[in-house]
Symmetry: C3
Subunit: 306 residues, 3 copies
């Protein structure tokens, strides 16, 4: 399989076979992540982030450095030529001269696709609008596979803000390529958008509920997301919801021993700190996985791994 020169604009551009190939390549990166490599020596990654995202940016930078390459870029749009009125197409056609590969974080839907059209070098979508965060979805799949050895056959629950979170949309799509049962757990105001739901329902069994407690006992993978106060016009409503979707030791009392809890981070109150030291908590190991998956993407897109 040859990924050289491809873009990672949407998780929907990938077949199950391609995703498996990416995950296997990520696995092969583990030793290089631990001890470094010169595989991408001389290559430059440009991070162009029109929205701040320390986590994703540092993850890509670490991935590039561990492969011997280097990184440049900007971390928010405040100090850039965008403020002078430059459009995205021009920014891309400028930055492609400085680098060998670009990661793009942008507040607008479709930004990565537009960028990919104009760019001569590979574009990786590092989050666009509320819909797409394909590399996070790959990290999530990799984490599930690493923790559970398989994705097929699992009962996966997505919990929290399923409406505005860009990671859950990409992840739901990615999961629908596997033979899983998906449960969507959210307050009514934060239910997954109908169009995303329809797309995945064609392929896998999906059920929706507001009750986290009830579905915990049969769940294999619990994917928790942050619920943002700003989403609720009524603060009393928010307080109620917040309590109902908090995962703590009591929640875990009824869980399977080999339940795996994932979270894209940052976490606020939705997982109690007491959970951190349980074997179920995978979210900090998930950060490490983010590096190896991104190493795989960089190496594949730059043609250094086939």
């Amino acid at each position: 399989m040859n990924f050289q020169g491809r873009d990672i604009a949407s998780i929907e551009d990938f077949t199950r076979e391609e995703i498996n190939y990416l995950l296997n390549t990520a696995k092969a990166m583990e030793p290089l992540a631990a001890k470094g490599s010169d595989m991408l020596k001389g290559k430059i990654l440009a991070n162009i982030f029109f929205e701040p995202s320390t986590r994703t940016r540092l993850s890509f930078e670490a991935a590039m450095l561990k492969l011997g390459g280097s990184a440049i870029g900007f971390a928010d749009a405040e100090n850039t030529s965008v403020k002078k009125g430059e459009n995205l197409a021009d920014t891309v056609r400028t930055v492609e001269n400085y680098a060998d590969i670009i990661t793009l974080r942008h507040p607008l839907e479709g930004a990565a696709k537009l960028a990919a059209e104009f760019s001569k070098i590979p574009i990786i979508n590092a989050g666009s609008g509320a819909e797409e965060h394909p590399t996070q979805a790959l990290v999530d799949l990799y984490t599930i596979k690493k923790e559970r050895r398989t994705i097929d056959g699992l009962k996966v629950a997505l919990v929290g803000d399923l409406r505005y979170g860009r990671t859950v949309h990409s992840l739901a799509y990615a999961l629908s390529l596997y033979n899983i049962e998906l449960t969507l757990v959210s307050p009514d105001a934060l239910k997954m958008r109908r169009e995303v739901l329809r797309a995945i329902q064609n392929r896998i069994q999906v059920s929706e509920t507001q009750n986290l407690e009830k579905i915990i006992p049969q769940t294999d993978v619990l994917y928790v997301t942050r619920i943002q106060k700003e989403r609720f016009p009524d603060q009393a409503e928010f307080a109620k919801v917040k309590g109902a979707y908090r995962v703590d030791l009591k929640t875990l009392a009824n869980a399977k021993k080999d339940l795996k809890i994932l979270h894209p981070l940052p976490r606020v109150d939705e997982i109690a700190p007491e959970v951190d030291s349980t074997p179920q908590a995978c979210y900090f190991r998930q950060v490490w996985n983010g590096i190896v998956v991104r190493m795989a993407l960089l190496a594949l897109l730059l043609g250094q791994v086939k």
Copy 2:
């Protein structure tokens, strides 16, 4: 010719012979820009930017990385000791300890010269005040020479804001060292300053006009700059001017086949997107040239190329 340890404070510090030498060195950098090099391994570039300028900063960083060096610095003055009241001389005498070469972007005229006086390591002016942007002028000359094989004998027109744009001042001076005919095209409020004009009129033939359309047919190089709304107290006046200096396919209908259009970027409305795909459009190739010219400067000033 030995550039080791010199500063690049003003384009006016260079003779025609020196500039030609720089341009030839830049040409020799083209293969290194494409495949990387270890020429400056272990060397550190410090970007100290008291005004944001993503483009120039990334161009220098890319140049340094492609030569195997590395870059540190800050991208605006907001988070620096300047806010604590430190003067430029102290900043320079601090940063010279961290690096082997410094690029400085500063809002004040003369900042680069002051910095050069205090610094033990080379200072490169990355834009100071409204007057100087010597490395951009070198990039522009390099682009003209690469696109037209020669600078001498050409009819060059500078279009747009010739009053406040720092690139046009440095470029006008640099062009005046060659045997060219220069046409200055601008609205009345944005005419080139008299002192700059006088300096170059001693050496080359210069004419001024407000009419872009009229001079297009005989022009060999059209250098377009952005006209900023803020420069006009009267917005109706701005709207009129904006329309008159927009380059589009209709403008090009009367142009020479081998006209070359340059722009320091970012571009807003002054060149229509439809022009981008014409053979006349050089402005994105100009970005690439920025890297090779800056590679040449870094290598020469650090004494790695003679």
Copy 3:
């Protein structure tokens, strides 16, 4: 002595023997600082700065680059997940995946200790709250030793803001491990805190005064700090104090020939520019020393030097 895997949270964690060991290692770094090294090739430093500090950040970055490593991170908390409500423990457990060693600058007392508890990789305190700046104290000691060949036996005066400046607290503690006489010179409102004073008075002779002029003649090392306007509710009071603690050539007329003046920088008015060219002025050389000391710390904590 083995420092591998240790944290640098507080200067108080170190014995005199350990500090001497660090200073000797720093001395051994001088040639590597001048010509570069590959000692930390493949290692990544993460700077996580919740408060801006260009100087300390660039010093650590330069130290890492000179040892062949690389650096990532953020320079202020504005654009980070902290804004989304993440706590420090989570930030650390995330960033430790990206890097081999972390420097932390934080507005709160105790932040570095908390971070060290949660981190699997070494944490270096790059300034926390108003109390601790251990690496600056080591740089100060190194500078004194390099300039005077010894620390023992010297008369050291700390001048200026001894109440709020984090560097003087760490430095006072560090100095108290040596056989010195310490004089604290400050306006009444900016006297050193009683608890710091008590801790060092057990070990060395300390005297307090408001009169800089009087103590100058017998002083060997004068450590000057910036007095900030904001500390004074009454601006007339500030103006008076500012004048009284300004070091200029007149101040130096009565000083020993081999007096050494240090300053953590940035400097505003407290040392007149005319002093810069005297042999007594060490503060710019002190910046260089900051790099070699930090190179020693990075190499020791990462186990590359024993």
